[in-house]
């Protein structure tokens, strides 16, 4: 099996999808000749040309609106938003249209569409090239939200997203684009949407996270193990619908829950997980549900490393709940 970075895995998935099915089309800013600002679409324009790999005018509204029109007509559009921070000029097309077309048309007009976008910090991009905006989409019924943290999941979940019928916001943690390589199957395969991944089994504290926080939590879990705390680490991967069963099963086992997200604290997805635990596993909880998160401030530039949770911050939370009595 070839080894790939996440960026290569995304690119490979797009190559596989386009070769498999000519309904798959790509559109976005700079995705053609340049191959995308990160290179995720490299080589595709050369192979498929302007009709299937479209460099668009600079309008997220236009990218998403036309993608909706393509999806309704039976294509499988995969629009790219250059940075997730720039999705808002097209937000209406996602929230009011893409997410609701199937429902509002009584099932007549499904709107398949996979919106790919690099998300989160890690490149010293300041404010507008670093935000984790998954909450906005998770609060929007009708969407699926996916965020892989490994090359294999990135490929398998991107393919699974393209070849199912609901609109998907596919968030690629840019900090992990070139974070390391993993063996990934060649050709077509799917990783099932909606299922969490057990990164590490344990029975002392449940840590739930996703995206770029997965390796941070792995490091923290490692350190916790050294200190005698056994961590069960779950990578959610799918944020809507999400694998509540997996989380609750683990919480019922450990009785201790730490949630880690890069997004601002208030109404980050950790809040939903905590609420679900407080609703369905209250009797198992033997310690406060701890949230480790970005702060309720805009994303900074110079102090990015202070803003984003690091292994130490996660470790402190693990130790706090582990010791709580």
């Amino acid at each position: 099996m070839p080894e790939m970075t996440m960026l290569q895995a995304v690119n490979d998935a797009l190559h596989v999808a386009m070769a498999k099915d000519d309904r798959v089309v790509l559109l976005g800013e700079d995705i053609g000749k340049k191959g995308g600002v990160f290179g995720a679409t490299a080589g595709l324009w050369d192979k498929y040309g302007d009709l299937r790999v479209m460099d668009t005018p600079l309008s997220e509204n236009g990218i998403l609106g036309t993608a909706v029109g393509m999806g309704l007509y039976g294509l499988r559009p995969v629009p790219e938003i250059q940075f997730l921070d720039f999705i808002y000029p097209g937000f209406d097309q996602i929230v009011s249209e893409m997410a609701k077309f199937r429902y509002r048309s009584g099932g007549e007009y499904p709107c398949p569409c996979v919106v790919r976008s690099p998300s989160g910090g890690g490149i010293k991009g300041g404010h507008y090239h670093s935000q984790s905006a998954e909450s906005y989409f998770i609060h929007t019924p009708g969407l699926r939200v996916v965020m892989p943290s490994t090359p294999r999941d990135a490929k398998g979940m991107l393919l699974a997203s393209i070849f199912q019928d609901d609109p998907v916001i596919f968030l690629e943690p840019k900090a992990l684009y070139r974070h390391g390589k993993q063996e990934v199957e060649s050709g077509y395969f799917e990783v099932e949407l909606g299922k969490a991944r057990v990164v590490r089994a344990g029975d002392g504290v449940t840590v739930v996270t996703w995206g770029a926080m997965v390796p941070v939590c792995e490091a923290a879990a490692e350190k916790a193990a050294e200190k005698g705390v056994s961590v069960e680490l779950l990578d959610l991967r799918s944020l809507l619908p999400w694998d509540a069963d997996a989380v609750l099963a683990s919480v019922r086992k450990t009785g201790r829950l730490v949630l880690v997200q890069e997004a601002p604290r208030t109404l980050g997805f950790a809040s939903e997980i905590a609420a679900t635990a407080a609703e369905k596993a209250i009797d198992s909880l033997r310690a406060p549900v701890a949230r480790v998160s970005g702060f309720d401030t805009p994303f900074p530039y110079t102090l990015e490393h202070v803003y984003k949770p690091d292994a130490q911050r996660v470790l402190n939370a693990i130790e706090f709940v582990a010791k709580y009595d």
């Binding site: 089309v25 299937r52 236009g62 036309t66 097309q93 429902y103 048309s105 019924p141 909606g194």
Partner: protein, 369 residues
């Protein structure tokens, strides 16, 4: 720039029937216009009687819509607005199907999920109507692009008002279609009002048609109360699109003779003289005069037509009204292709509540606009 295409007056004087249209064509157009007027009047009545919650009449705009849509064969996709049900009527959608939607009942195509006038009619290539103004414009451009990707020969039509031109959707949709040279006709009905805002406060542009200049496409201004002029402009735009010469923006200059919707009262913002002026240009009366001149119209035929339509509508209303509302559990369908676990759970909770605590009361509410 402010002149507009007109056909009806010249055609009235001419010998032959205009634009290659047959007597049957002309009668079919007239019928759709009259039927639309009857539908709108009936809907307003039903709303006043509290039998449906809301409606959006298109009175005064029948020529604009029917004229253009007569140039759009059924294989063309249409992205309608909430005020363009005449297109559904012209395409032959059964009255019952329309009234089911207005009642939001159990046989409504959209399962009672949208306000009245927000139709979805896939079998007639009419896309589900949205409320947010303008969203259909960029979508239409996308569908037109998809047609190019597939190498097919059909055209996409999208309908919006003078107000709709101000949204970013208009800008994006026309710009993308222009760059891609997609087969799309952008139908802007300038009915002089966006609720209470008059069109001259919508933009400083002298006409809406001239906005096409910004997107490198032709902009055509047409008398929207002249059904033949609109037909001609639309037909030419369609031919241009099929030739691969790209999109067209058509400004159809007309006037909203009724309120914005069943909840609006134009007297609060509209000068009565303006309304009177435009009433004199009623598109149905104008077309009727032409048909009469061509000996295609008689009072008897008109009466027969009206009676026929009234009877059909009456039957449909009765049937729709007697159809029970959608079942509670349908609330959870179609959010996704298949029901995910969290919706299974939420659905169960509602059903459980009804089982234990009884049916959930509908306490109503009244739409303000």
């Amino acid at each position: 720039m402010t002149e507009m295409l007109q056909v009806l007056d010249a055609a009235t004087k001419a010998q032959k029937l205009p634009l290659g249209l047959t007597a049957d064509d002309l009668r079919a157009m007239y019928r759709a216009m009259v039927a639309t007027r009857a539908f709108d009047q009936r809907c307003m009545n039903l709303q006043r009687q509290g039998r449906i919650g809301f409606c959006v009449p298109s009175i005064g705009q029948e020529a604009s819509q029917v004229g253009a849509s007569y140039a759009a064969p059924l294989e063309d996709w249409v992205y309608p607005s909430y005020r363009t049900h005449s297109i559904a009527i012209l395409r032959g959608v059964p009255w019952k199907t329309l009234f089911d939607q207005l009642y939001g009942n159990g046989t409504d195509v959209v399962k009672g999920r949208q306000m009245p006038n927000h139709f979805s009619l896939r079998a007639w290539n009419l896309v589900s109507v949205s409320s947010p103004i303008g969203t259909q414009i960029s979508q239409a451009a996308g569908t037109a692009r998809a047609i190019q990707v597939r190498g097919e020969k059909r055209v996409v039509w999208t309908w919006f008002g003078d107000g709709g031109t101000s949204e970013g959707e208009f800008h994006a949709g026309l710009n993308f279609a222009g760059v891609w040279k997609s087969p799309c006709v952008f139908m802007c009905e300038n009915n002089h009002w966006a609720i209470s805002v008059p069109c001259e406060r919508q933009t400083a542009s002298e006409t809406f048609a001239q906005k096409a200049v910004a997107y490198g496409m032709p902009g055509v201004r047409v008398d929207g109360n002249d059904v033949l002029a609109v037909y001609q402009a639309a037909k030419e735009a369609r031919e241009r699109a099929l030739r691969g010469d790209g999109p067209t923006l058509i400004e159809s200059v007309t006037f909203r003779l009724g309120p914005h919707s069943s909840s609006d009262d134009p007297k609060r913002y509209q000068a009565p003289e303006l309304l009177e002026t435009w009433k004199k240009r009623d598109p149905i009366a104008r077309f009727q005069a032409f048909l009469e001149k061509k000996k295609l119209w008689t009072p008897a035929w008109d009466k027969q037509l009206s009676d026929e339509i009234a009877a059909e509508i009456g039957k449909a209303v009765d049937a729709a009204e007697q159809t029970p509302p959608p079942a509670v559990e349908t609330l959870f369908d179609d959010v996704y292709a298949t029901l995910p676990p969290h919706l299974v759970e939420q659905r169960q909770a509602v059903l459980d509540q009804i089982r234990t605590s009884g049916a959930i009361q509908d306490t109503g509410g009244k739409f303000p606009l």
